[in-house]
Amino acid sequence: MSSTTPGVRPAPSHLHQVVDCQWACPAHTPVPEYLRLIAAGRYAESYEVNWWSNVFPGILGRVCDRPCEPACRRGRVDEEPVAICRMKRVAADLKGDISARLPKAPVKKNGKRVACVGAGPASLTVARDLALEGYAVTIFDGGTQAGGMMRSQIPKFRLPDSVIDEECGYVAALDVEVVLDRWINSLGALRSEGWDAIFVGTGAPRGREADLPGRAEAAANVHIGIEWLANLAFGHVETVGRRVVVLGGGNTAMDCCRSARRLGAEDVQVIVRSGFDEMKASPWEKEEALHEGVLIRNCMVPLAFEHTDGQLTGVTFEHVEVQRDARGKRALMPTGRMETVACDQVLVAIGQENTFPWIERDLGLAFDQWGMPALNEKTLQSSLPDVFFGGDSALGPKNIITAVAQGHTAAVSIDLFLRGKDVVADRPGDRITLASQKMGIHEWAYDSAISDLDREKMPTQALELALKDIKLELELGFDVKKACNEASRCLNCDMATVFTAKTCIECDSCVDICPTECITFTEDGTDDDLRTRLKAPAPNLEQMLYVADGLKTGRVMVKDENLCLHCGLCSERCPTNAWDMLKVDWQVAHAGSQAGSVGAEAAAVSA
């Protein structure tokens, strides 16, 4: 990695960060590895790689928030990133019977008992990690099925029950006891049952209310979005008004409006305070909603529910204008222009809140000023050393993959705590190893050729069919051909270019061949200064400069990691093997991992 002090250039320790998708994934899933396995037709192994990292490949392959995709390198050199998320589903769809490949829980348990409250993705991850280490884990949930909000909130047309059943089942199969229909109403009472540790994964269960005039009077036709979705998921709601207004612009609003269309609503309007681009919903969700005939209206602030004789008649809004002040801060300026939108039903989807009515405030568990548990964010341990948090209940509502990542973190802490270790000082580090990919003068153990295919489009059910059946899964998944095409678009960012100054003869061959001109040999300087002297402009400050000294001429080699295609041409052209392509195998620490630290081994290998 580069340092800003010229003359002191440590061995590279940044190589795992060059794998943009894996770095951006909260659970650090080894994306390029599973994509290559798909290309090789090794679907079961691809699923396995995913399962170890993110526990729910089939679920996430459909509904993940995909922070990896905006980060994907391909998106910087091509129009669209690799369809990373959909490829998880490919692995899940094509894997066949996986049971023999998945590990079994040890027969001999370690004698420690852990309780998880809530059966959402956070708890299920904790349970999986700890069960594999010999812990006896029991999960309690007040609902009738495991899965948390994956089950109760996400509509079936995005995520069928069968997928949730299968993947929750793999966790339960590890001797994890899942106790349903059991609402925990006292943490004090639970603690007195003698659990060695307790994990709280109760989510953010309360939908934010729209306290506007007329709310009480029109109550019969105004519903909180997440409550309505849960009722829909469990079959308690089967009809909807003809004209529906959805308040809010996040993913919950998108699920509400799309569900309403499927239940038969003809006029569905999502009405949002912000502008279209500022809406919280993922771009693809907005696109789908528009495609399904939903009207999205922006810059309108709700003022009142209109009603006659206890019957909702509409919602009144004021139009606003988005203005930016000198510092670029956004403000909504009232225009005085009012509009009443007539409707038969309103779904309020303006946010979620945490609430912990079942945690007594005199147990010694500290809460902060916003009513959230006071946690060490690195360990997720609360002020009661045997109580840990994760998922939406820990740091506020996010998404499934964050809940999984936090589940791993909490499981590491619980494991350390119950082994009598310090949850901070004794924490295991990630394991990073590097392995050369050279198989011949210009033969690599990976497919180094760069494909110029465009991103595959996801085939879907015909709109008429989709709108008729609320349980019909909309997306059909990629077939083998589409999957292989898409896999080939990955640039293999885990195939790192590693430079050895000692053997470089400064012939410039790598500089000349590099298709993106990312290599420069120049006089040493600080990073800021170097960036002004590179062969190609290096404006992306989020991507590092790889700087190496020790050359005969006293210059340094500077590589801007931003646009490297991992094509290996530099290495093929180098007459002295000063460049090598090394595969970065980055294994994030899970419960039971041995101590070590990030980058330590990487540095050792390349030194």
Binding site: D452, C507, I513, K552, E572
Partner: protein
């Protein structure tokens, strides 16, 4: 060498020059030379020079003989005209091309074997007649293509890869070009593009015989200790006399220089060469002094690089021969066959 072509990704979003081409548009096929060959760096410098000069690729003719160096026109300017001639015969083919179409930018690529051994006679005449060409020799001291025999530029006493000493006196192509009347003479090193690219640009914009001897190490047969054409040897013995900046006719001069430190030489087409003097006291417009200084430094085993000589307002073969102003392929029936009256007049003059 590599088998894979450079990927096209990003090719369309790369910066463009004044006539709308990206640098990639000046590239050619993927090189088949040994990895680390200096010749590939020279190709890259040529790509850079053409890109910066905003020359349309299809208005260029690239001429060469035989050798690894002479193969390289395949690896740059894939959209240009070209002629891969016989060993040592590039200058005569280039002369023909130049006479036929004076509007093409002519670049000749040759090797030390192709030019100093088999082709020395042809080289001599191209220089002395002022052929309007940028003539580049990629000088590695050996016949690379035929597996490393000493060429005529190998220094006396230098050793082959197997340890055999060269007993023959070397031909210094720069000295020869100076003596033969070339009007733009430079020496450079494939490993120093900062120096090489402007020298190539200046040569392309020079009207007349422009010659550049580029020391271009052969990684496979001549990059050992004992060689005087290795990366290490050249870096240790390189004495640059000046740095050149090429200012195109409509381009502004933005670099600031201390007064008196820069000398400006105008070329025929309005291009200015700004020559910034380095350590040595050296006058690149004095042919005789240049020759003397060159000999002195050669005797010390040092390599003088930079623009060693340039003649302001030089002229070329077309001028000497008073040829027609248009390319031959643009001449019409009327010009080619001016009629009986003109013929009668001509015949009368010869009576």
């Amino acid at each position: 060498m590599t088998y894979l072509a450079k990927p096209r990704l990003l090719a369309d979003v790369q910066p463009r020059n004044a006539i709308g081409f990206t640098k990639r548009d000046y590239e050619g096929a993927i090189s088949t030379l040994c990895a680390g060959c200096g010749h590939d760096s020279v190709s890259a410098a040529i790509v850079q020079a053409f890109y910066e000069l905003d020359i349309e690729p299809h208005r260029v003719a690239k001429m060469s003989g035989i050798g690894c160096s002479s193969k390289t026109p395949d690896y740059f300017l894939g959209a240009s005209h070209g002629f891969n001639s016989v060993h040592g015969r590039m200058p005569s083919v280039a002369t023909g091309a130049s006479l036929a179409n004076r509007e093409l930018t002519l670049i000749g690529i040759s090797g030390d074997g192709d030019t100093a051994s088999i082709g020395i006679g042809q080289f001599a005449h191209a220089m002395r007649r002022g052929l309007n060409i940028a003539y580049i020799v990629e000088n590695n001291g050996v016949y690379g293509l035929t597996k490393g025999q000493f060429s005529a530029t190998a220094d006396k006493g230098s050793k082959s890869k197997k340890g055999v000493q060269n007993a023959d006196a070397p031909i210094d192509l720069v000295a020869l070009a100076l003596q033969l009347g070339a009007t733009y003479v430079a020496r450079s090193f494939s490993g120093d593009k900062d120096q090489l690219v402007p020298l190539i640009k200046g040569a392309l914009r020079h009207q007349g015989a422009a010659f550049i001897d580029v020391i271009s190490p052969c990684v496979t047969f001549n990059n050992h200790s004992g060689s005087t054409k290795s990366y290490d040897y050249v870096r240790e013995h390189n004495e640059a006399v000046n740095r050149v900046e090429v200012i195109q006719p409509r381009q502004e001069i933005t670099t600031e220089y201390e007064p008196g430190s820069v000398r400006r030489v105008m070329q025929h087409d309005g291009t200015a060469l700004l020559l910034r003097k380095l350590g040595l006291d050296y006058d690149p417009t004095d042919r005789n002094r240049a020759m003397n200084q060159l000999h002195e430094w050669n005797a010390k085993g040092e390599i003088l690089t930079g623009l060693l000589f340039v003649e302001e307002g030089a002229d070329d073969l077309h001028h000497h021969l008073n040829t027609v102003a248009k390319p031959l392929n643009q001449l019409t029936q009327a010009e080619l066959c001016p009629g009986q009256a003109v013929l009668d007049k001509l015949n009368a003059a010869l009576r």
